[in-house]
């Protein structure tokens, strides 16, 4: 058996034509015949021992490398011959297990299906439930640290509320009795301006209402509906869970693609979409919490529906005047579920 290839001695970049000759009789002799250069002349025959040869594993159509001696190298494109050569010494063992896997259609289809399935399971069940578990195990000081965000928001986006002291006092008084059962969440009511109608819950327990939002509110019940929604975010530790889920997705992408360089536009887009879908499921969870709490307090779910409609309308109006209708609308729809879906949920409670 003869395998044609190139020989490089490892001391310089010169390259010579070479041939690996394997005798078919017993005991098997391996000889590497190195053909001379035009100038140098001498043809070399070097006897080799299989145990001292390091044969690279087969990888696609890439050339096969056989290293021996002191950094000497024989390279050949004849992969099949090298496989046969190795088999002659080692038997039909698992030497090319990976290569066989990579070339079997069933294996490839199976691997693709299993991989998609595992990623799907991780995204739908694994990541959300482990983030849920970790978020509820974390000591409180960590969540406070994650959410020492109000001071930062005050410095960047928010301005102080323009509501009169007495108005603020009245709103606090209205909400106080409803907060009592949730003292363990440490809720603190805050009023701010500088943003369109909105309410937030920060993981430190601050629940922020914007002035524009309070202008939309026409009854105390509507205010309580939104208060309960924000309490739902606190109760379920949504911000902590979202931070955890985002970092887990990033880790998953690194594991899958194998390196950090691949995190760019292509992998970034699906990551963002996942984050948004997680965000929507958190909103629904908070809605559910709000509707339950309203039922207990004897407040009709129709107030929840009416404030949602007003918020939706205020976003639509706002974007009309702002000339970037599309951006505002898509932003709202992507982090939050569609309003019709949320109202439908409320209607189920009324019946």
């Amino acid at each position: 058996m003869q395998i044609e290839g190139r020989y490089m001695d490892g001391t310089t970049s010169s390259r010579h034509y070479a041939r690996l000759e394997v005798s078919s009789y017993h005991p098997v002799n391996i000889t590497l015949v190195i053909e001379p250069d035009i100038e140098e002349g001498a043809r070399r025959e070097c006897p080799l021992n299989f145990d001292e040869m390091k044969v690279s594993s087969r990888l696609g159509n890439t050339p096969r490398e056989i290293a021996f001696g002191d950094n000497e190298l024989f390279v050949t494109d004849d992969n099949d011959a090298v496989d046969e050569f190795v088999r002659g010494f080692k038997g039909g063992g698992s030497a090319s297990f990976l290569h066989r896997m990579e070339n079997s259609l069933t294996m490839i289809l199976g691997a693709t299906a299993v991989t998609i399935l595992m990623i799907w399971a991780a995204v739908v069940y694994g990541i959300p439930s482990s983030a849920h578990y970790i978020a509820h195990q974390l000591p409180d000081f960590t969540s406070e640290k994650l959410g020492s965000g109000l001071t930062m928001l005050d410095e960047t986006i928010f301005s102080p509320s323009e509501l009169h002291e007495s108005e603020q006092y009245r709103y606090r008084a209205v909400m106080a009795p409803y907060l009592e059962p949730y003292e363990d969440l440490g809720p603190k009511i805050e009023f701010r301006s500088g943003m369109p109608a909105n309410a937030f819950a920060l993981p430190g327990g601050e629940i922020v209402f914007t002035d524009d939002f309070l202008k939309l509110v026409e009854s105390d019940e509507e205010l309580i509906a939104v208060l309960f929604h924000e309490l739902g975010h606190l109760k379920h530790k949504h911000i902590t869970r979202r931070v955890l889920q985002d970092s887990m997705i990033t880790l998953m992408v690194i594991f899958i693609t194998g390196d950090i360089d691949t995190i760019d536009l292509l992998t970034g887009l699906p990551t963002l979409m996942l984050d948004l879908s997680y965000s929507r499921s958190f909103e629904l969870e908070a809605d559910q919490f709000a509707l339950d709490a309203m039922q207990i307090s004897g407040i009709s779910a129709k107030h929840f529906a009416s404030i949602m409609q007003k918020l939706d309308k205020s976003y639509a109006d706002h974007s009309d005047t702002d000339d970037n209708k599309y951006k505002a609308v898509t932003d709202f729809l992507s982090t939050h579920p569609p309003t019709e879906q949320r109202i439908k949920l409320a209607e189920q409670y009324q019946n």
Binding site: D9, G10, P63, V75, E102, I256, G258, I260, L266
Partner: protein
């Protein structure tokens, strides 16, 4: 294998041969390797990722040809796995410390800033050492001070001069990477000047003003036609991005030299744009399954634009002595880079 004939020519020092780089990988073939890698990585809870990295890198190195010979990737999986475990352990210790002792973590973070140039040096040394061509390994050896200047000081000067000296920072970075690299015992040289980099930035600035100003004017004065502005701006952004990628890559290779041998690159905005567009579209509609084939197409395109102007045969490069360089620098760099 006709280089032996070339070496026999009468005056090798003056004969000039254009050698093309060529990437012989195949998208489908790489997809199979990639998907098996993912499967095994997930099944082994990430342990296999070291083997996967080696297999992926080997595929890309071994399929890159110059003068009928392929490049090689030499790292061993166990070496990478060990470093990866150490790096992850260090990261976990760091995270725990920063949770409970913020001051200690702050000190560590400052120490890390000073350690990064060292890690980058180690990482480049490992990468070069693990790459070989014609059975001669590449190498990289740079001092800490040089790495510190290229990574922090020059970019900072670029920012402080409002970007005027930013092209210089880029030049310094490329000089640091190239001039400390060697093929065997032969050092690479880099001949680009501040002017070369400055021109790229000046032209970009000029084009940005030429298209940006009208876009701004339409948006402010012709409200009815305002929808055109975002289109112009998006086009401008994509155009500038492509221009920057193409020009900096071409400049880099055109100024690269190994002894009397020169390199050249002819990437075009049209060519690169086409590859990015096709890759992006197919990757999105296949939910990422096209990613490996996209990487192959990009590598193929770049390799097809590269050539070497060889003055005589490439037979006389001597291999350097072996130093022991661990993969740890690279892995530490990756883990902490990600952490920040």
């Amino acid at each position: 294998m006709d280089d032996n004939a070339v070496s026999g020519s009468t005056s090798p020092s003056t004969s000039s041969t254009i050698l093309n780089f060529e990437f012989r990988g195949n998208g489908l073939e790489y997809f199979k390797i990639w998907i098996v890698n993912i499967l095994l990585t997930v099944l082994t809870l990430g342990i296999y990722s070291a083997w996967a990295t080696v297999r992926n890198n080997r595929y890309f190195y071994s399929n890159l040809y110059l003068d009928g010979e392929n490049f090689r990737y030499l790292a061993e999986p166990l070496q990478i796995l060990k470093s990866r475990l150490i790096a992850i352990a260090a990261f976990i210790v760091y995270s725990l410390l920063s949770q409970h002792y913020p001051m200690v973590a702050l000190g560590l973070a400052v120490a890390l800033i000073f350690a990064i140039p060292y890690f980058i040096n180690q990482s480049l040394a490992f990468h070069r050492r693990m790459s070989a061509y014609k059975n001669v390994q590449f190498r990289f050896k740079a001092g800490y001070g040089e790495a510190f200047m290229a990574l922090y000081v020059w970019p900072l000067i670029g920012v402080l001069t409002l970007g005027i000296l930013y092209p210089l920072a880029m030049l310094k970075m490329h000089q640091y990477v190239v001039r400390n690299s060697a093929y065997g015992t032969t050092k690479f040289d880099f001949t680009a000047t501040f002017k070369d980099y400055g021109m790229i930035f000046l032209i970009m600035l000029g084009v940005a003003i030429m298209f940006g100003l009208p876009a701004w004017a339409i948006m402010t004065f012709f409200k009815d036609a305002a929808f055109i502005s975002p289109i112009i701006l998006a086009g401008l952004y994509i155009g500038l991005f492509l221009y920057f990628m193409v020009q900096t890559n071409n400049l880099f290779f055109n100024c690269l030299a190994l002894n009397e041998h020169r390199f050249s690159a002819q990437l075009t905005m049209l060519g690169l744009g086409k590859v990015i567009l096709i890759n992006g579209f197919l990757t999105i509609i296949t939910l990422g399954l096209y990613l490996p084939a996209a990487k192959v197409r990009m590598t193929k395109y770049i390799a097809s634009c590269l050539e070497m102007d060889a003055k005589g045969p490439l037979d006389n490069f001597a291999a350097a002595e072996q130093d022991n360089i661990s993969a740890l620098g690279e892995e530490m760099g990756q883990v902490f880079d990600f952490a920040m």
